[in-house]
């Protein structure tokens, strides 16, 4: 005979499942099925208007693994993320620290520093065309007046550098906001005590602020790495991946292959390979971060 407690327990469990169900359905519908569909397409030859014309085994993967364009796109993406994220984290955290220790007019700084964050990446990309163009662009004109001539948009390095500068401009405020929230949450007593022991703000910065903010900073770094690996709108609007494919990040290549040219087979294989690579990197990253936190 069921006791009242067991009936209550069943009801509670049912209620829990009912609450969880929407999330589970959501994840299955929007994550699980698309990944399964991508896996299926990655083994297929897909033609617009005809659908899957044949299953081709691992040939989409094999072709990609020997495709220099694919590896170049990965390489460029790693360079892009590897340079922009550390700079964004450093500048963002230092700015947050400066605001935290108190500078005159800090209320004014906050909205100015965070403004780019609320602008669409594509818009910034198109803005970049006007900033970096040789034909009267702001950057080119200012640097030209200083005797510095950089071929921003007509060379691979110039195009990539321009995209990185804009990316840093947009996303540094994100790190700044997260860092500011973290540093603001640390009790002032800790900083005050540290200041008595330390000879400068920078000692407190390196030995107190960074270690205490590190768990949140880790999340900020991870978010930026993940977003950077998917970066699309800005570089696409700025250079369209050119000249040639020299600034073609992985996401731009994936978009061209899968969306524009509807090669779902090759595009899905690209996505799956990228997912595997990113998962390995992120797992390694987490392990390292956890070690530091411990």
């Amino acid at each position: 005979m069921e006791t009242i407690a067991s009936v209550q327990s069943k009801a509670e469990r049912g209620f829990k499942y009912a609450l969880l169900a929407p999330s589970v359905i959501w994840i299955i519908a929007l994550t699980f099925f698309p990944i399964l569909a991508a896996v299926r397409y990655s083994f297929a030859n897909y033609v617009l208007g005809e659908g899957i014309t044949a299953y081709v085994g691992f040939s989409n993967y094999a072709r990609l693994l020997t495709d220099s364009g694919f590896w170049y796109a990965i390489f460029i993406t790693v360079i892009f993320v590897g340079i922009t994220v550390p700079i964004e984290v450093c500048i963002g955290f230092v700015l947050a620290w400066i605001i935290t220790i108190g500078v005159p007019g800090k209320k004014l700084f906050r909205p100015i520093l965070t403004a780019p964050l609320f602008t669409m990446e594509v818009a910034i990309g198109y803005l970049g065309v006007t900033l970096f163009t040789d034909q009267g662009g702001l950057f080119s004109t200012i640097l030209g007046a200083l005797g510095i001539h950089i071929e921003w948009l007509s060379t691979a390095s110039g195009g990539l550098a321009a995209a990185m500068i804009l990316d840093i401009w947009i996303w540094t405020p994100f790190v700044f906001l997260m860092s500011l929230a973290t540093l603001s949450a640390i009790p002032n007593d800790i900083f005050d005590a540290a200041m008595l022991e330390a000879s400068s703000h920078w000692q407190v910065f390196f030995h107190v602020a960074i270690p205490l903010a590190w768990p949140v900073l880790t999340v900020a770094i991870l978010s930026r790495v993940l977003e950077g690996l998917k970066s699309f709108g800005l570089p696409y609007a700025l250079t369209s991946g050119g000249p040639g494919t020299s600034t073609q990040l992985f996401s731009v290549m994936a978009d061209l292959t899968t969306i524009q040219f509807t090669d779902f087979g090759r595009g899905s294989a690209m996505g799956i390979l990228y997912l595997i690579m990113v998962s390995i990197v992120i797992t390694f990253f987490f392990k390292q971060m956890r070690k530091r936190i411990d």
């Binding site: 617009l48 208007g49 163009t133 034909q135 007509s154 691979a156 195009g159 250079t239 369209s240 040639g244």
Partner: protein
């Protein structure tokens, strides 16, 4: 009776007949008396055939937004036939899209219908069209580039509908596919059936600064430096290079800054590769060979032939004759260089001389010359694998989008959709489009040209702000290009956008100095093979043959 009088009388008769004021029998009888050949008469008569039941009138005061107009159409419009109906059209976010939007309120006013226009940029247009055709069916019509056509015909039942049946119904706006120049009609058709409704007619010709090439001082300097008379205009690729090179790097316009020889644009995904296609045409196509893209028997790519290679090497030489940043320029940026008076040459589309008429945008009104793309003295036949010599091999092209709308077979409102598209194709509106730069539309119909080719009047162009001589030069060159016996064929098979993209990025890579021309074209050929394999070689071969039909 003088010859001039006969000509005037015949023009009067033709205009009367085409406008429906005189009968077919009377027209033929009178024209025969003037000694007009039966062959010519049959062409004129067939041009009118589409509206022969319609009692075509020059115009109607009640419906001033379209002309000519049939009596049936007038009666039809009195009922506000599409009141309460809304159609949705997907267009290119560019001048051609603006051109279409211009006509929306006018059509709505006449018919009572509504038009929703969705705009997308060129780099996502293809994807938007075909994802809609495969899934959502939100749009009744799509603005398409001519190179999308092959993709419409992959399914057994094409994605788009033929418009022939509508053309015979006089209650719809009156226009006739027989008015097209043949090279242009091909781009709107598939296997002889018309699927597209007239809008744009693209081709690239060479625009140049007449005033600069005519200047005696420049002519003397050129002769002293290059060793022969300044060609005005350039007739061969070599002459074009010599002119571009000569005018690069010195202040020939007297504004205190160094100027350029040529304006180009080569940003990836911005149609820059059309420059290469235009340059390559006379190196590959000739009276001996019409195949530019693939060997029709094997579907093996011809893109890495010796002729294509020579053109790409030429293109590399041209680049320093303009700002280096042209590698990353969009089309508009290339035009700006010419319109601001800083470049002597620009091979491009007809938007350029149209924009040149606008004093707000242009410093070169009345100074622009136009000629066909310079030819070559030898062309490589990629099928036979040999170079052929010519005195001058000039080749026409229809490079560009020739942007126009097609109707989805899934549309539930095909009739109002066709009505709207045909409304823009009526003679009055077509002329308006091709004389106004903001529409992005170029002339593809005979009536848009001046006699003896067409029935256009220079006054119509002057009314729209054109310099009369410039309009004549532009139309003469445009027509000459479209009617050259040797033409560069257009790629209209499934995956054309993808084939072209692979070419686009490689050409851009070569211009940026990342790869060598030969390696880039060989690599491109390999990429094309992969695309052909994906679509199926035999299917592509069949559609390639059909695209020529």
């Amino acid at each position: 009776m003088s010859q001039d009088h006969s000509k005037d009388r015949f023009e009067e008769l033709s205009a009367g007949f085409l406008a429906g004021r005189i009968s077919r029998r009377h027209f033929i009888g009178q024209a025969a008396k003037l000694g007009i050949s039966a062959a010519l008469l049959s062409r004129i008569v067939s041009a009118q055939a589409y509206a022969e039941d319609g009692n075509l009138m020059d115009s109607s005061p009640d419906y001033p937004n379209e002309a000519p107009i049939t009596k049936e159409r007038i009666e039809f419009l009195k009922t506000k036939p599409y009141k309460g109906q809304t159609i949705t059209v997907l267009v290119l976010k560019a001048t051609v899209g603006d051109g279409l939007k211009y006509w929306v309120p006018k059509w709505e006013e006449e018919t009572g219908g509504k038009v929703n226009v969705a705009e997308v940029p060129i780099d996502t247009l293809h994807q938007q069209i075909f994802s809609d055709l495969q899934t959502t069916h939100r749009y009744d019509a799509y603005m398409t580039g001519a190179w999308f056509y092959g993709d419409f015909f992959v399914p057994k039942e094409p994605y788009i509908i033929e418009v022939g049946p509508y053309l015979k119904d006089p209650k719809y706006p009156s226009w006739s596919p027989d008015d097209w120049l043949p090279a242009m009609k091909t781009l709107y058709s598939w296997q002889g059936k018309v699927y597209g409704v007239l809008f744009d007619g693209d081709c690239q010709i060479l625009y140049y600064r007449r005033d600069v090439l005519e200047k005696a001082e420049n002519q003397q300097k050129f002769k002293d430096k290059v060793g022969y008379d300044l060609p005005n205009p350039p007739k061969t690729n070599k002459q074009m290079f010599d002119v571009a090179n000569f005018f690069t790097g010195w202040d020939w316009n007297g504004d205190g800054q160094n100027d350029w020889g040529i304006a180009l644009h080569a940003k990836v995904n911005e149609q820059g590769f059309f420059h290469f296609l235009t340059l390559a045409a006379p190196y590959v196509c000739s009276p001996n060979n019409k195949y530019f893209w693939f060997n029709p028997d094997t579907m093996k790519p011809l893109i890495n032939s010796e002729g294509h290679l020579r053109a790409l090497e030429d293109y590399v030489k041209f680049l320093p004759c303009g700002p280096k940043e042209a590698i990353s320029w969009t089309l508009g940026q290339g035009w700006n260089l010419f319109l601001s008076g800083q470049a002597v040459l620009e091979p491009t589309w007809g938007d350029l001389p149209t924009f040149a008429q606008d004093p707000k945008e242009s410093k070169v009104k009345g100074k622009v010359g136009a000629t066909i793309i310079p030819g070559t003295t030898e062309a490589y036949d990629p099928i036979k694998g040999q170079w052929d010599k010519f005195d001058l091999n000039s080749v026409g092209n229809v490079n560009g989008g020739s942007w126009h709308c097609v109707i989805s077979r899934f549309s539930k409102k095909k009739d109002p959709t066709y009505d709207f598209l045909a409304f823009m194709a009526t003679k009055k509106n077509a002329i308006y489009n091709c004389t106004h730069g903001f529409t992005g539309v170029q002339p593809g119909m005979k009536f848009e040209y001046f006699p003896p080719v067409g029935t256009g009047k220079v006054e119509e162009w002057v009314e729209q702000g054109w310099d009369p001589e410039e309009a004549k030069r532009y139309l003469d060159a445009y027509y000459q290009n479209l009617s050259l016996p040797a033409q560069e064929t257009y790629l209209r098979i499934p995956g054309a956008a993808e084939y072209w993209h692979e070419l686009d990025v490689r050409v851009s890579g070569v211009l940026a100095g990342q790869t060598q021309p030969k390696a880039a074209l060989d690599d491109c050929a390999q990429a094309w093979e992969r695309i052909t394999e994906r679509y199926g070689r035999d299917k592509q071969k069949k559609l390639y043959a059909e695209s020529f039909a």
